[in-house]
C-alpha cells in the first residue's frame, strides 16, 4: 500500500486531522499551570495511589521513542504524521502533570523523580508494528485501553479525596479518548480502502497487543499486580475495548473470525519459533 500516491486517501486523512485539530484547539486544550487545582492535593492519599501515578509517568517517559519511532512509521501519510506531532505535545503534557503531582504532593522527591527518568532512559521503546496501518490499529486499541485505565483511576483518586489527581486523570482521559476516536476514524477510512487487509491488520494487532510499558518499566509486573483492581483484565478488555472498537468500526464479531484465526495461528507459530521472523 502506497498512500502517498493515493491523493483521495491523503485528502481524507488531512480532513480528519483538521477536524481533530480544530476540536482540540477550540474545546479540548488545557494548561498544566491554569487548569489543575494543585492546592487540592490530598497529602494523606495512599502510597498505592502514588505508585500508580509513578507507573503511568514512567510509561510516558518513553515519549521520545514513541514520537521518533511513531512519526517515522507514518511520515508518508500527511494527516496521520501531523496528528503524531500533536499527539506528542499532548502526551508530554500528561507526563509533566503526573510528574508535578508526584513532586508537589511530596510522594516523590526531585531526586527520586529524575533518578527514575535516568534509570528508564537506559532502555528504549521499539515499535511493535512496522506499517502505518498496523501502527494506526495499535494506537486505536492502546488509546482505548489507556482511556479505560485512566477512568478507573480517576474514581480511585476521587475515593481518596484527591481532587487534584482526579482532575489530572480527567483531563488525560479526555485526551486519550480523543486520540482513540481519531485512530478509529482513520481505521474506518482504511477499511473502506481495503477491508480484508485492514481486518487482517486489526486482528494481527489484537493478537500481538501489549501495553507500551511492558519490558521497560522496572518491576512492571509487580506494579501491575498492585494496580490490578483498576486495570484491564481479559473481561474488561473484551467489554470496554474489543467490543466497543468493533462496534464503532462497524465490524461484526463474525466478520473478524477468519482474520483472527490467521492472526492467532501466526502468533502461535511465532511463539514456537521466534527466530523465524
Amino acid at each position: 500500500m502506497k498512500p502517498t500516491k493515493n491523493i483521495a486517501l491523503q485528502e481524507k486523512l488531512y480532513r480528519q486531522y483538521m477536524e481533530f485539530f480544530e476540536k482540540a484547539e477550540r474545546d479540548r486544550r488545557w494548561s498544566v499551570f491554569d487548569d489543575i487545582p494543585w492546592d487540592d492535593i490530598n497529602p494523606e492519599a495512599s502510597e498505592e495511589l502514588a505508585l500508580c501515578v509513578e507507573t503511568f509517568a514512567a510509561v510516558e517517559m518513553f515519549l521520545p521513542d514513541y514520537v521518533a519511532s511513531g512519526i517515522n512509521v507514518v511520515r508518508d501519510w500527511f494527516g496521520r504524521a501531523w496528528f503524531q506531532a500533536n499527539w506528542g505535545y499532548e502526551e508530554s503534557k500528561h507526563s509533566i502533570a503526573l510528574g508535578e503531582y508526584l513532586m508537589r504532593s511530596g510522594k516523590r522527591t526531585k531526586e527520586q523523580w529524575f533518578g527514575l527518568h535516568h534509570d528508564l532512559v537506559q532502555k528504549s521503546w521499539q515499535p511493535l508494528f512496522d506499517t502505518p496501518r498496523r501502527m494506526t490499529c495499535y494506537g486505536m486499541v492502546q488509546e482505548m485501553a489507556t482511556f479505560v485505565i485512566y477512568c478507573k483511576h480517576r474514581e480511585l483518586a476521587k475515593q481518596q479525596d484527591d481532587n487534584c489527581l482526579r482532575t489530572i486523570y480527567d483531563l488525560i482521559a479526555r485526551d486519550e479518548i480523543a486520540h482513540c476516536r481519531f485512530y478509529q476514524d482513520v481505521v474506518k477510512m482504511l477499511l473502506e480502502e481495503d477491508r480484508e487487509g485492514t481486518l487482517a491488520d486489526i486482528a494481527h494487532v489484537l493478537a500481538n497487543f501489549q501495553m507500551p510499558g511492558v519490558g521497560l518499566v522496572p518491576d512492571y509486573d509487580s506494579r501491575i499486580l498492585k494496580m490490578r483492581d483498576a486495570g484491564v483484565d481479559r473481561d474488561v478488555f473484551i467489554r470496554k475495548v474489543y467490543l466497543p472498537v468493533l462496534k464503532y468500526l462497524g465490524i461484526s464479531r463474525r466478520e473478524m473470525l477468519s482474520a483472527q484465526r490467521v492472526a492467532i495461528e501466526q502468533r502461535a507459530a511465532q511463539s514456537a519459533n521466534p527466530a523465524a521472523e
Binding site: 474489543y242 462496534k247 473478524m256 473470525l257 484465526r261
Partner: protein, 81 residues
C-alpha cells in the same frame, strides 16, 4: 444432559483448534482465565461455537462469562430460545 455434555465436548474441541493445546481436563466449572485463554482466543472460541451452532450470543451477555459452564449455558439458552 446430553446437550450439556456435547457443548462441553464442543468447547474442548474448538478451544484446542484455536489455541493448539489440549483442554481434555476442562469441566464446566473451569474458569476460563485459568485455562490460559486470552481475550482474542476467547472471542475466537465463542465465535467458532456460535458459527457451528448457527446462533449468536448478544454482546452484553459475553461479559458475564467466567466459567466454561457460563459459556455453555449462554449457548444452551440460545439453542432453547
Amino acid at each position: 444432559m446430553t446437550e450439556k455434555t456435547d457443548l462441553l465436548t464442543m468447547f474442548k474441541s474448538v478451544a484446542e483448534n484455536v489455541d493448539k493445546k489440549s483442554f481434555d481436563d476442562v469441566t464446566r466449572e473451569s474458569i476460563i482465565t485459568d485455562l490460559g485463554i486470552d481475550s482474542l482466543s476467547m472471542m475466537q472460541i465463542v465465535g467458532d461455537m456460535e458459527t457451528e451452532l448457527d446462533l449468536q450470543i448478544p454482546d452484553e451477555d459475553l461479559v458475564e462469562i467466567v466459567t466454561v459452564g457460563d459459556l455453555c449455558s449462554k449457548l444452551e439458552h440460545r439453542i432453547g430460545a
